[in-house]
Amino acid sequence: MKEYALFLGCLIPARLPHIEAISIKVLDKLGVKTKDIVDASCCPDPVVMKSLDFHSWLAIAARNLSLAEETESDILTLCSGCFSTLSKANHLLKHNAELKGEVNKFLSEINRSFTGKINVKHVVEIIRDIGKETIEQQVKRPLKRLKAASHPGCHLVRPSNIIHVDDPNAPTIQDEIVSWVGAEPVNYALKMLCCGVGIKMVDPEANLSLLREKLANLKETEANCIVTSCPFCFMQFDKEQKEVSRKFGESYTFPVFYITELLGLALGFSPEEVGLHLHTTPVKEV
């Protein structure tokens, strides 16, 4: 059984713990064990922290990587933001000796060091690597009524010179998983458009406009739900649809699934175990 060091990040353990719980259960059922990265902090955020101070961002990311190195396992992350930060930091430090030297000087102050012996994986990569055959064999409840619009988000596939999960311009990894659980993937024109959450703090109006553009496009399709593998995008779609509907005088009520929630349902976990009762936008319609 393959074992990974689970990097929880901030948003999932503090605001969306049902995603943490069902992800661990789904992975276990699919033969993937997870272990804690003791004393891990925020990744930190790939947008805010890097914009304020690149060196602090890199040093804190390196500390998290060094903690994971102690587990002797590759990192598994459930958050695309954490995935982006840790992948980029790991790549920079593995390939830039000068930067590695500078960061290890920082880390030596706290008796740690970065060696570069592990890799960083996103949960969708792990699921893809488990494979169609294994997952289809485990499906107890095919989700045939779901027509799922997949939202890859920004950080799962970028920066594309470092992250090679999928085609950065036309990713299909989530659509594949959607089809393996019996649901129908729905393509749409604005699939690659950002959900808007990244600019929410500095421009809440633009944030809602972006989200509305995306939701309006989805409404033109047959999609009856949204699937994502980023907790920030999940929260944006799940919680802000109501605000977009109010602000623009329109109605958006797409149920939103984090990728392991969808798998959890298909593998036979109850809606309560999956945490659907904790969603802001009701799921019962589908």
Binding site: L11, P17, V48, S56, V202
Partner: protein
């Protein structure tokens, strides 16, 4: 672009919400600190109320704070440190 943003921060120019993120990271080690509701929800889901994260470890928090103090945006910490 990143270098310009970092330079602006050094000169004191950064949006207030971003400074708040920096402050939260310094004070807890996380962007989204735990609340009473978080702990209740985690308990109900069968998860540990105090997972082994920086937010639950003074030693780990000390390490994160030390790294942030060595960085180029350490001046952002002065006001919050003074308040404490």
């Amino acid at each position: 672009m990143l270098a310009l943003r970092n330079l602006a921060t050094k000169e004191g120019y950064a949006p207030a919400p971003l400074k708040n993120v920096f402050k939260a990271l310094f004070e807890t080690g996380h962007e989204f600190p735990f609340t009473g509701y978080t702990r209740k929800l985690r308990r109900e889901l069968g998860l540990s109320e105090t997972p082994p994260l920086t937010i639950n470890s003074p030693k780990a928090l000390g390490e994160v704070q030390k790294l942030m103090k060595m960085g180029g945006a350490s001046h952002l910490l002065k006001s919050s440190e003074m308040k404490r």
